[in-house]
Amino acid sequence: MSYSHPQLKLLLLLAALFLAGLGVREWRMGFPDAAERLERFDREDPPPPIPPAPRLRAAPRWAAAARPEAPAPPRAVPPPRARAPATPPVPIADPRPLDLNRASAEEISRLPGVGPSLARRIVEERDRRGRFESADGLRGILGMGPKKLAALREHVTVGE
C-alpha cells in the first residue's frame, strides 16, 4: 500500500497538527498560570479607579477626616507635585458650639467621638427628660465616659 504525494503531505500535516495540539494541551494543563500569563502578555490592566470624593454638607461641622470612625477614603492616586501653597489640611471646626437641646441626632453624631448609635441614645435621653440642663446631663448615657464628656464640653452648649 502506498500513498500519493499529496496524500502524504496532507496526512503528515494532520499528524503534526494533532501532535502539537496534544503537546500544548498537556502543557496548558500542567502550567495553567504560565499559559494564562502567555495568553495575556499584551493585555494591560485598567488604571486603578479614583474613588469619588466624599460629598460635603453645605456647612461642614466636622471635617470628615477628623472623625476617627469614618476617615476619608484614601485617594488611590496621590495628587501630583503640588505647586499650591501647601497649607496643612486642618479640620474645619465650626466655632459655634452645638446646642444639645436643638440638635438632631445626625448633627450630634458629627461631634468628635460620637457615633450614630450614641447620638441616637443622647436624643432618646433628651426626649425622656425633656431637655438637658447642662452638658453634665450627658453623663450616665451608655457609651459616654468621663474622658469623652470632657472632650465634648467645649463643643456643646444647652439652650433654653
Partner: protein, 798 residues
C-alpha cells in the same frame, strides 16, 4: 501589463468618475439621459462607419462617455419614496415596527445599536405603513434579538449629527450613503420582539462559529481568530486593536482576498489529495467561496474578493488564461452598480487600491529585486508588501492620517502566521462540527499560532515610530503619487519614464511636505472645536506654539472624541507637537479626550489644577506616561506662550489638593486669560457662581474681548455681576446639541445678550474659529461658512 488585457479597466474608471460627478449631474437627470442617448448614437454611427482608426477611436470615446453618464445616473440620489419614514409627520416619541437588518451591536454594557428596516409606525393608535432604514441606539439592558427578527420599539427620531470641524468626518453623509436619513434613540425596555429569533442560515453559521471559537480558546485569542476568519473584531481588546494598526497589519482582521485565497487553496489541497478531478474541485471551491461570503457578510472587501475568486475559478474551468486586472475591474463595476455609495467607503477604497497595487506593481518590483540576487520567494513577498503599501498609502492618509512605517517588514512575518492561523481555524471549525474531542486537540495548537501572531504584531508595534500620522494629502499630491506609481512598470523600458517618475515623486513629496513648512500668516488662531457636549479649544500662536485647552469627552460608554475629532484635527493642521495641554478640571467631558492627545502627540507641558476625580483615570495614566512636564497652576501665575501672555485666575490655591471641594469640583476649574496684542480671551472651564465670585473678589483683570462661557452655558454660570465685569463682545458656548443638561439655558443666554455679547455656539455653528492679527478679529462659523469681522479697539483691555 498591457491595456488590451484589461478592457474593463477604462470602463470601470469611467463609471466611477460618473459616480463622483453624480452630485453635479443630479440637477438635470433628463438632460443627462438625452446626452447619453446622443453619445450612444454617435458611437454607434462611428462604429458602423467601419474599421478606420479615427472611427474606432471616436466610438471608444463615445462608449466611455456613455459609461460615465451611466455612472452619474446610477450615483444620483434617488428621490425618497412617498412612504419613507423621513417624510412622515411624527410625534416626538413614536412607536416603530421593523425588521432588524443586522445583528445588534452591543458597544457598551447598556448601549446597543440596531439597524432597523422600518415597515410601519404608529400615529396614536393607527398603524401606518412606512419604509426606510433607521440607525437606533437603545439605552439599558436590551433583550436578546437577532438579525431578521421583526421588532417594535418606541423611539425619538432625529436627523443624524456629526461633529462639524474643518477636515472632519461627515457622519450624516456616511449614514446617507447607507440609506439612513434618521437616527433614533430609546429605552431598551420599550423593545418588543414581534417574531421569534429565526435568522437565515448564514447568520446561524456565523453565530455558531463565534460561539465555537469562544468555547475553545481564551478570550483575546478567540477575538483574534474571529477577526481573522469572520472579520468579527468587536471582542478584540483596544490595546491589541491599536497594536495591529501600528504594525500596519490591520488588513488581516478584515475578510478579504487573503481569506478567499486560503479557503480556495485549502479546498484544492484537500480535494486533490483525495484524487478528485480538477473541475469538480473548482466547482466545490466556488460553492465554498459563495457560502463563505454569505456567512461573513457584505463588506466591500469580501464581495470584491469573492467576485475575483469566482472569475479565476471560472477561467480555470474554461481553460482560459485569467487576467487579474480585468477581474478586478469587473468586480469594481459590479459592486459600484449594485452599491454606488461604496465608492466613498474606506473599506472599498483600501481593498481595491491594495489589490490593484499588488497586481500592477508586483511583477516589476519582483523582477527588479530578483535581478539584484534576491531569492525568488523573498522578492515576491517583499514586492507584494511594497506594492500594496504604496497603493493604499493615500487612502490611509485621507481617512485615518496613518502611515505605518514598519508595515512592509511586519507583513513579511505576520501574513504567513495569519495564513497558518486562518487555515487551521477553518479546519478546526470544520472538525468541531463533527467531533468536540478532536477540536479539543486542534485548538491548542492553533492557540500557539495565535499567540505567536500576537507576539509578532506586538513586537512590530513596539518599534519606535512604527506608525506616523500625517495630514490628509490634497488632490494634487494624490494625483502625482498615482502617476509615479503608474510609471513603475515602465521604468526599465524607456529613458523618459525615469525622469517623469522621479519628477512625479518629487512633486508628490513636495506637495505633502508643504503644509509643514508653509509660512504662517502672522495671525493668532483660536478654534473652538465642535466636540458635542464638552470643551476642546486649540490656541495657535503666530510663532507656531500650540495650546490645547481640554480635549472633549471620552469614557467607557461614549465615543472617544479625542481620538475621533481632536487628534485628526491636529494631524490635519498639521501638528505633531502640542506645546501645552491644559486640563481645566478632570470631568470626563473636558479631560477624557486628552488621553488620545497625550498618547499620540509630543506634549511639552500639561497644565492642571492638580485634582483628578473618578472617570479621569485613563487620562491621568496617559499624562504620567507622556513625559510631559506637569504643572499645577494657581491664580496669579503668568506664563508666556510665544508672544501671548497666559494669566491664571483660578483656582486660588487655598484648598488643599487632597481635600474635596466644598462648592464642587467645577469651581476649582483652571481659569486662564490669554492676552495677545489687542486681543484677550478668558477660558473659564466649568466655573460657576462661587468660582466667579472668587475670581471677581481677587480683583484679577477679567475684562476681555472673548469669553468662553462657563459650564456650557449653565444656569449657574455667567452671572450678571461676572458679565458686567468681563464685558465680553464675543461669547462662545461649547455645547452639544440636545444634551441632557439642556445647556445652554435660556437664563444664561439672556444674561449674555443683556451684556451685549455676540453669541456663538458650537451646537449650531459647528467649530467656531477666531483669527486675529491684533487689529481685526475674524470669526468663522464652520457649519455655515460665514465669516464676520470685528475691529479691535486698541483702548480695550483690563
Amino acid at each position: 501589463m498591457k491595456w488590451h488585457e484589461a478592457p474593463l479597466l477604462p470602463l470601470s474608471a469611467a463609471f466611477a468618475l460618473g459616480i463622483v460627478a453624480a452630485p453635479w449631474a443630479a440637477a438635470a437627470p433628463g438632460r443627462l439621459l438625452v446626452a447619453g442617448g446622443l453619445l450612444l448614437g454617435l458611437g454607434a454611427c462611428a462604429a458602423a462607419l467601419g474599421r478606420y482608426r479615427p472611427c474606432e477611436g471616436a466610438a471608444t470615446v463615445a462608449l466611455l462617455a456613455v459609461t460615465f453618464v451611466l455612472g452619474a445616473l446610477r450615483g444620483a440620489t434617488e428621490p425618497l419614496p412617498a412612504d419613507h419614514i423621513a417624510r412622515a409627520e411624527l410625534a416626538p416619541v413614536v412607536r416603530i415596527e421593523g425588521r432588524l437588518a443586522d445583528e445588534p451591536i452591543r458597544w457598551a454594557p447598556d448601549r446597543t445599536r440596531l439597524s432597523l428596516e422600518v415597515d410601519g409606525y404608529f400615529d396614536r393608535n393607527d398603524r401606518r405603513p412606512a419604509s426606510g432604514r433607521l440607525q437606533v441606539t437603545l439605552y439599558g439592558e436590551t433583550a436578546p434579538v437577532g438579525e431578521g427578527q421583526r421588532v417594535s420599539v418606541e423611539l425619538k427620531l432625529s436627523r443624524p449629527r456629526g461633529f462639524r470641524n474643518p477636515g472632519g468626518f461627515d457622519y450624516p453623509a456616511f449614514l446617507r450613503r447607507e440609506g439612513i436619513l434618521l437616527v433614533g434613540s430609546g429605552r431598551a425596555e420599550s423593545l418588543a420582539a414581534l417574531t421569534a429569533d429565526e435568522p437565515p442560515w448564514p447568520v446561524r453559521v456565523k453565530r455558531w462559529a463565534v460561539a465555537a471559537i469562544g468555547a475553545h480558546l481564551p478570550e483575546t485569542s478567540a477575538a483574534l481568530l474571529a477577526g481573522l476568519i469572520l472579520g468579527e473584531k468587536k471582542g478584540l481588546p483596544p490595546e491589541s486593536d491599536e497594536a495591529f494598526r501600528r504594525a500596519g497589519v490591520y488588513h488581516i482582521l478584515a475578510v478579504s482576498g487573503f481569506n478567499v485565497a486560503l479557503l480556495a487553496s485549502s479546498v484544492f489541497f484537500v480535494l486533490s489529495a483525495l484524487g478528485i478531478s480538477r473541475r469538480a474541485t473548482a466547482v466545490t471551491a466556488g460553492a465554498a467561496l459563495v457560502g463563505f461570503a454569505l456567512v461573513v457578510g457584505g463588506q466591500a472587501s469580501v464581495l470584491r474578493a469573492t467576485v475575483m475568486g469566482l472569475l479565476l475559478l471560472a477561467a480555470l474551468l474554461l481553460d482560459r488564461k485569467s487576467q487579474l486586472m480585468n477581474a478586478l475591474a469587473l468586480a469594481a463595476l459590479a459592486l459600484l452598480t449594485w452599491r454606488p455609495g461604496d465608492l466613498w467607503d474606506p473599506g472599498f477604497q483600501l481593498s481595491f487600491a491594495a489589490t490593484a497595487g499588488i497586481i500592477y506593481l508586483t511583477p516589476a518590483i519582483t523582477a527588479w529585486l530578483a535581478a539584484r540576487g534576491w531569492p525568488a520567494w523573498l522578492a515576491t513577498a517583499v514586492a507584494v508588501s511594497v506594492g500594496a503599501q504604496a497603493a493604499v498609502t493615500p487612502v490611509m492618509l485621507i481617512h485615518f492620517n496613518q502611515l505605518s512605517l514598519i508595515g512592509i517588514a511586519a507583513n513579511l512575518i505576520v501574513v504567513p502566521l495569519a495564513a497558518v492561523a486562518t487555515t487551521l481555524g477553518m479546519l478546526a471549525l470544520l472538525v468541531a462540527l463533527a467531533s468536540a474531542v478532536a477540536a479539543d486537540v486542534i485548538f491548542p495548537a492553533l492557540w500557539l499560532v495565535l499567540v505567536a501572531l500576537r507576539a509578532a504584531v506586538w513586537a512590530a508595534a513596539a518599534v519606535p515610530a512604527a506608525m506616523i500620522h500625517l495630514p490628509a494629502p490634497g488632490w494634487a499630491a494624490i494625483f502625482t503619487w498615482s502617476m509615479a506609481l503608474a510609471l513603475v512598470p515602465f521604468l526599465g523600458a524607456r529613458r523618459w519614464t525615469r525622469s517623469a517618475a522621479a519628477a512625479c515623486l518629487i512633486a508628490a513629496l513636495a506637495l505633502s511636505i508643504w503644509p509643514w513648512v508653509e509660512p504662517g500668516d502672522g495671525r493668532l488662531r483660536i478654534t473652538f472645536l465642535d466636540v458635542g457636549q464638552g470643551d476642546a479649544i486649540l490656541v495657535e500662536l503666530p510663532e507656531g506654539q500650540r495650546l490645547l485647552v481640554d480635549g472633549g469627552a471620552a469614557g467607557a460608554r461614549r465615543l472617544d472624541v479625542g481620538e475621533r475629532v481632536v487628534a485628526p484635527y491636529l494631524w490635519n493642521r498639521p501638528a505633531a507637537r502640542v506645546d501645552a495641554v491644559a486640563v481645566t478640571h478632570s470631568d470626563t467631558d473636558h479631560s477624557g479626550g486628552l488621553r488620545a492627545v497625550l498618547t499620540r502627540f509630543r506634549v511639552g507641558e500639561l497644565w492642571e489644577n492638580g485634582r483628578w476625580g473618578p472617570g479621569s483615570e485613563e487620562t491621568l495614566r496617559a499624562a504620567e506616561r507622556s513625559g510631559a512636564c506637569r504643572r499645577t497652576l494657581v491664580a496669579g501665575q503668568r506664563i508666556w506662550l510665544g508672544s501671548a501672555l497666559v494669566t491664571v485666575l483660578n483656582p486660588d490655591g487655598t484648598l488643599p489638593l487632597d481635600e474635596p471641594a466644598p462648592d464642587g469640583e467645577n469651581e476649582q476649574s483652571l481659569v486662564l486669560r490669554l492676552d495677545w496684542r489687542g486681543f484677550s480671551l478668558l477660558l473659564t472651564g466649568d466655573l460657576g457662581r462661587p468660582g466667579e465670585e472668587r475670581v471677581l473678589a481677587s480683583h484679577a483683570p477679567v475684562r476681555v474681548l472673548v469669553l468662553k462661557v462657563g459650564h456650557h452655558g449653565s444656569r449657574f454660570s455667567s452671572t450678571g455681576e461676572f458679565l458686567a465685569a468681563t464685558r465680553p463682545e464675543v461669547a462662545v458656548i461649547s455645547v452639544g446639541a440636545r444634551n441632557p443638561f439642556r445647556h445652554p439655558t435660556p437664563d444664561a443666554l439672556a444674561r449674555l445678550e443683556a451684556a451685549g455679547a455676540r453669541i456663538y455656539r458650537t451646537d449650531r455653528d459647528g467649530a467656531v474659529i477666531l483669527e486675529t492679527d491684533g487689529a481685526s478679529l475674524w470669526i468663522t462659523r464652520w457649519a455655515s461658512g460665514t465669516v464676520e469681522r470685528l475691529d479691535l479697539d486698541p483702548e480695550r483691555g483690563a
